[in-house]
Assembly symmetry: C2
Homo-oligomer: 300 residues x 2
């Protein structure tokens, strides 16, 4: 039982974490901290948090666990506000979709207190935000990737893991570097490719004609181009190195394919399509086995 | 009322055309022609066709309308078999997802009889094939793009248009060149980009780890990489010129983005994301207005 948890950013992610722990009977008191008083008041009205705090010092007093669930660009400012009042025995974690830059920032701000920071990334979400969107089962059956630091104690890592497990999540572990490389490849790059295609089409003189004939294939391929421009600017900048690596590999791939197409090399193209189709179908089967309930897990 | 129609290739596309016209009471006799006797027999058992023909000459006698609904790579061989028996007064149309090469082939094979060929492309489909998959409402509310030739009479174009309208489809018209350019941009290129990404990831040494963390964004972006490798080889070769144009523009787009990312140009990247997001959301709203029933229209 956690006596007191503090959530910075009581939106979809932070609010759902609160609701889930409450539903599991795993927490006594939930304190919310945020930039906008109105949002915090709403979260309190909705029963997501018990206390809407304006004082970081009061919020942190006696806290077992602190979750940073605000936009990842606010990590530095939040950690700076926490540092002076962070008591030994309090564990801090986050929910940012990139880990390398978060860790660098945390080391710079927290100094020796870095031992108390266990970075994490819940792979869950909905096309909605704010406290109104918070639901208790957002994390059920979803992955949470922890990227513990060498300085973290096993006990502190376990505390964070158990909290997420109480939310129904499945814990995975990667180094911050591997985390960022993996998500650059399977999440960040696809989002950027989708943005690039839609922008490319929208800028053509006959864009209206093109959109008129876009159908289901286009719809699915470009759904993620409906995502937040600000969030993706932040992710691109924060995971620049890993994304460049993946993007360069992909541009090389397209360049190779371009040459095959120009040469009319049907066999080579078909081999690539077949390899992709098989991998995609294998993957589809594996996720249907693992997650029979179809819940959008909205990678960020 | 069409007295007699002939369908070459009684699968999902041809079979659904037959079922739709039958349901609309718009045809008296439906004749099926195909390479595999067993498939034709099945189509006859299922009541999709009245006659499973082994003689093109007999099939075409007195036919009002002929639909080529076989794989587009068979167009030449089918037109060659039709040419000697094609009577004045019979209109021939097709369902191929590319038009330029079909028209070139038709001109070469049909000679003067090109006047009787009205190229078309129904934008519909399901992730299923064969006569078992044929359904009468496949085309309801879906677009059919006709690409009439200068040589076609208005009456013949109208006959084809009306047949598809009896199936519930909405008729659009483009030149063959514009058709191929449009579909290169909004259908062919996205499919090829998805194949390229999945192949790229599948070939990495740590592919298993990557697929483990692929989530809903990846799923939607790559759904179309589950498509038929053979079909996409054929489309790539048949629409080579238009696809190269789109692919070159896209590679240039990625190269520009790559430079912005390397330079840490957050503003420029955000501007591209915002332009794409807005275009995508505008498009989404426009299709929700136009097609409230959610039927996969499976662009090929």
């Amino acid at each position: 039982m956690l006596k007191k948890i503090v959530i910075f950013g009581v939106g979809l992610i932070g609010g759902s974490f609160a609701r889930a722990l409450r539903q599991a009977g795993a927490v006594e008191q939930i304190v919310g901290v945020g930039r906008t008083a109105k949002v915090l008041e709403r979260a309190k009205e909705l029963g997501i948090i018990d206390v809407a705090s304006t004082s970081v010092e009061e919020a942190l007093r006696g806290a077992d666990l602190v979750l940073l669930a605000a936009p990842v660009a606010q990590t530095e400012v939040i950690l700076k506000s926490i540092k002076p009042y962070l008591q030994a025995g309090t564990v801090v974690t986050d929910a940012g979709s990139i880990k390398g830059e978060v860790v660098t920032t945390a080391r710079a701000v927290l100094g020796d207190k870095i031992t108390q920071f266990v970075p994490g990334h819940p792979i869950a979400g909905l096309e909605a935000n704010g406290p109104e969107a918070a639901i208790p089962d957002l994390y059920v059956g979803k992955k949470v990737v922890l990227t513990p630091l060498a300085e973290n104690s096993a006990a502190d890592v376990a505390l964070v893991a158990q909290a997420w497990q109480q939310c129904g999540a499945i814990i995975h572990q990667l180094t911050p570097e591997n985390h960022d490389a993996v998500f650059a490849a399977v999440s960040h790059l696809p989002h950027l490719l989708a943005f690039a295609l839609v922008d490319d089409i929208a800028n053509k003189p006959h864009a209206d004609l093109l959109f008129q004939y876009a159908a289901s294939g286009f719809r699915d391929f470009t759904r993620i181009a409906g995502s937040s421009p600000e969030m993706w600017r932040d992710i691109s900048l924060s995971n620049q190195g890993a994304i460049l690596t993946e993007l360069d590999a992909y541009i090389a791939q397209l360049t190779r394919f371009r040459a095959q197409l120009a040469a009319g090399d049907g066999l080579a193209m078909q081999a690539m399509f077949a390899n992709a189709q098989q991998a995609r179908q294998n993957w589809q089967r594996s996720i249907e086995t693992a997650e029979p309930q179809h819940q959008p897990d909205g990678d960020k």
